[in-house]
């Protein structure tokens, strides 16, 4: 019994992931190393054995050679792994938004368990959900690889640019002008009417959806979010990186968090035939969904920008 040889074989065994015959492989390597050491120096010493062991190769490399062609997930599924994760996460994200809006749990075990939570906790929850979705897709692709590695899986087309590029388009001056004009109109409305949320377009007698305090507060926050978009868009004329919209959308998300948790409770006006609470809540929910979608798209673009071409 040679201690260094047994230690070497234990190391190989640690990395060796074969279905059958692991002990046979180790027995064959043991037999080979001892015979070679005997031929090189008789009697065999720990030192002569060590020389043969070192020539045989690192345990990790030795084990890897027995596992060639046995990928955990086939390399041809690499793109599927990311695309399927994105799609699954999109569903997870929409359901999370619904759960947050209705303050309810959504359970569809084993696929989803979305607890009742506020919008603030939805952000760390979504990050966790992303890791979970990645794991689920990897798990499925693992089984597909083990059963039939040349299986042809569905491939929905989503354009996100090539590797090493963010896929972000060049900013257009016309868009910036339109955004600035829109901001100007809203700012004018806020200064003149103390609100930007109207349900009547009668310029002589415009009516706000909200009570005066809430109107001013939420209008300012909405304008701040829009200003953030305009600043981000302007910066992209000088520095068109995916990081810019990522930071921009993160700030807008923060503003939305303030909106959701604001101490000012909005009181909705009453209008004949329209439930303004649904209109107001729907608007905020739509804005949150849109912003988180844009944030996640920016996150994907940043990862693509950072990946090697």
């Amino acid at each position: 019994m040679y201690e260094n040889l047994e230690k070497y074989l234990r190391e190989i065994s640690h990395y060796l992931a074969v279905k059958h015959g692991a002990s046979e492989i180790l027995a064959e390597i043991r037999s080979h190393i001892i015979e070679k050491a005997e031929r090189e120096s008789s009697p065999v010493t720990e030192k002569s054995l060590q020389n043969v062991i070192e020539a045989y190769g690192r345990p990790r490399d030795v084990a890897a050679k027995y596992m060639e062609g046995q990928e955990i997930i086939s390399p041809t599924f690499k793109k599927h792994l990311f695309r399927y994760t994105t799609m699954l996460f999109a569903v997870h994200f929409i359901l999370t938004m619904v759960a947050v809006y209705f303050r309810a749990s959504i359970v569809a075990i084993p696929f989803f368990f979305i607890p009742k939570m506020g919008p603030f906790w939805a952000i760390p929850y979504l990050l966790m959900a992303l890791a979970y979705d990645f794991g689920v897709v990897a798990f499925v692709l693992y089984f597909v690889t083990q059963r039939k590695k040349d299986a042809r899986l569905p491939w929905p087309a989503i354009s996100l640019g090539r590797r090493g590029e963010s896929g972000l388009k060049r900013p257009k001056p016309a868009v910036l002008i339109m955004l600035a004009a829109f901001f100007g109109i809203l700012l004018y409305a806020l200064l003149r009417y103390h609100t930007i949320f109207f349900y009547s377009v009668d310029f002589h007698n415009p009516r706000s959806i909200l009570n005066p305090a809430a109107s001013v507060f939420f209008s300012i926050l909405f304008l701040a979010a829009l200003a953030c978009d305009i600043i981000g868009y302007s910066i992209r004329f000088l520095f068109n990186s995916a990081w810019v919209p990522l930071v921009q959308h993160a700030i807008v998300l923060l503003i939305l968090w303030v909106v959701w948790n604001s101490p000012i409770r909005p009181q909705y006006a009453s209008a004949p035939g329209i439930d303004l609470r649904i209109v107001g809540g729907g608007f905020v929910l739509f804005f949150i969904v849109l912003t988180v979608f844009r944030f996640l798209r920016s996150l994907l673009r940043v990862t693509r920008e950072m990946s090697l071409p």
Partner: protein, 116 residues
């Protein structure tokens, strides 16, 4: 003076050896032999093979059914002996035919290039 092989050529040689070694092992195993004896036999014939390459290859060939093995525990230490199967002989014959065809194409190309 020791001449060191170009790394690109060395990489190409590794690629070429991948298929060659399989056919070579199928040729050697007409005689029942165990791993270390096979390495020494190949070395004596002028072909050096890394031991950590040969054993995984033997396992793959056995999985394909081209060779078969059995443990001999009668000696001072157990040894795993390998020998070619009928399927292995058939594969070897076909592989050699492919090789002869490739060699013929290369010869024709060389001859055609003489005029260039």
């Amino acid at each position: 003076m020791v001449t060191r092989m170009d790394p690109e050529l060395s990489s190409l040689e590794t690629e070429m050896n991948r298929g060659f070694l399989q056919v070579l092992v199928l040729a050697v195993l007409e005689r029942r032999m165990y791993g270390y004896a096979m390495i020494r036999h190949l070395e004596e014939s002028g072909y050096a093979v890394e031991e950590n390459t040969l054993y995984p290859l033997l396992r793959r060939l056995e999985k394909n059914g081209w060779i078969t093995s059995e443990w001999d525990v009668g000696e001072d230490r157990p040894k795993k002996y390998y020998v070619i199967t009928d399927k292995g002989r058939s594969i070897r014959g076909q592989a050699l035919a492919i090789w002869a065809g490739q060699s013929e194409i290369l010869t024709k190309m060389e001859e055609a290039n003489r005029d260039v």
